[in-house]
Amino acid sequence: MTTFALRRLGQNRPILLAYGGALALFAVTSAFSPGFASANHIRILLIQASFVALVALGQSFVILGGGIDLSVPWTLNGSAILMTLFADGQNRPLVWVIPLLVALGGLIGLVNGLGITALGVSPIIMTLGMNVILSGGLLVYTNGSPTAAAPAFVETLATGRVGPVPYNTLIWLALASLATVVLTWTAFGRHLYALGTNRMVAQFSGIAVSRVTVVTYVISGMTAAFAGILLTGYVGQAYLGMGDPYLFASVAAVAIGGASILGGSGHYLGTIAGALILTVLAGLLPILNLNTASLQVIYGVVILATVALATLPGRLAVTR
């Protein structure tokens, strides 16, 4: 029943902790920085958080199922660059460009998923290889030169607002709701949790483990591609390397949001808190006189720490 699933989610301590952490961090940063909590700045924070959060949406599905998608940076980057090339600053082509690019992202995910399930390539190798192929391909394709500016419509999507709420935030909210429904109330969501916990049990239970796995990578490719389009609208143009920060940011958001990096536990609602934390943290760094490179250090430490925590009980059990 609906209430049952919600109750269980409400009892999920890591997710509650992540939201507590996000609020606390926001309060501290606001105290040090006047204007941080102004309506305008909150809107900016929400928009900035949405890019990580969208990439991390697909990443959440992949990680829940026990995989990882390292190809998100250049899936995002490719979609951003192709969007500016195909649309050439015009709004009208976006009618087919946006669906096409999201579908292309899905296709990248499909190849990742098939490589992992049908060929048995490990997720890290498969998606890392895909990332390298995409980056090389794009360098060749664009000759390394910058492309056209973002069409006005995409800029509006990324930065405009209806009343006090950015369009961007509404889009994020809609996709977050969809992700939540799928994870909480559908058999697919249930199978994903089973798969991430114990692949063999899932398989022996008659779950189509390969199909479920492939779908998670398709979702990840689609959300990365879509994030690339919105991010281009926010930045105003596409450039090579713009997706790079989103690899560790997306994984860190999932991990901070209370998911096991090894799969089987967590929820997109937690990932949202993770994305908010990372975004506020990025705002805190200049206040502490730290540059964005320190953010990379934080991502790395967070990921290693959560992996260590996730595997600790198992190792303790073995040595005991």
């Binding site: 058999a187 949790y193 916990t197 022996f204 239970s205 008659g206």
Partner: protein, 257 residues
């Protein structure tokens, strides 16, 4: 035999590369009976049941369901025929609760494609009650928190919930204490009394002689013979397991090979 058994294997072979896990194995299970499957480690017991469940496609031979040859491509196919397997160590998903595990892979959905948690929970309670499994306090607790005996009870309940005709249990009591083994053996006996065909894999001959009607012995991937519990002794079975001596079971004309 006049009636064909619910489940029968004829001349089934299965190799993993150079390893002949099963060679020309004959086996059957009948309704209302517990058929024990015994053999040393590596004799091929788990491979045999995985072949029945369609997890390992067989190289040779045939599987008959109610006398008709069937091809089983996976757990779903087996389930459709009414064959359920409780795997050694691989029956349940730790981070899901009892209800979620009972319905894993076969979730009930409402018209909107949402999981029908209320009905699943209700039926879980009914199934557990029907099997007199009283040790599960609430079906909403995580399986990770259950004792070994409770886990096996859930795994068995899950297997019989689908109007199954054949239930196969791979070493269900291997990790259990005395009292919990008792629970599971009682449950096994109850299944047979309800008319199911039960296949029980176990290393414990004492347990087997208590609940089984017949015993099939596998050795090095071959069936040594089939024995009626009432007409054999533990010694004879031990000899069959270790030395592969088919012994007197042949005289009543029932043993294959």
């Amino acid at each position: 035999m006049t009636d064909s058994p619910i489940l029968a294997l004829r001349g089934v072979s299965k190799s993993f590369g150079q390893v002949h896990a099963l060679s020309q194995v004959d086996f059957h299970a009948d309704a209302g009976e517990v058929m024990a499957l015994v053999g040393d480690n590596g004799a091929g017991k788990s491979t045999l049941i995985k072949s029945i469940a369609g997890i390992h496609p067989i190289d040779e031979g045939e599987i008959l369901f109610e006398g008709r040859p069937v091809s089983i491509g996976g757990p779903k196919d087996a389930g459709r025929l009414g064959i359920e397997v409780v795997y050694q160590d691989l029956a349940l998903c730790d981070n899901l609760d009892v209800v979620q595990n009972m319905y894993l892979g076969r979730e009930l959905r409402d018209r909107l494609w949402r999981l029908d948690e209320a009905t699943m929970e209700q039926r879980t309670r009914e199934t557990l009650r029907g099997l007199s499994v009283t040790t599960i306090r609430t079906p909403r607790q995580l399986v990770a928190g259950l004792s070994g005996g409770q886990r096996q009870s859930v795994a068995v309940a899950r297997a019989v919930m689908w109007n199954s005709r054949v239930v196969i249990l791979d070493e269900p009591t291997a990790a259990l204490g005395v009292a919990q083994t008792r629970q599971v053996l009682d449950l096994v006996r109850r299944l047979a009394e309800q008319g199911l065909a039960v296949v029980l894999i176990s290393h414990n001959l004492h347990d087997i002689f208590e609940v089984a009607d017949r015993i099939t012995v596998l050795r090095l991937g071959r069936s040594v013979g089939e024995y009626a519990v009432a007409e054999t002794t533990q010694q004879e079975i031990v000899q069959a397991i270790t030395a592969g001596i088919p012994a007197a079971a042949r005289s009543n004309g029932e043993a294959p090979v």
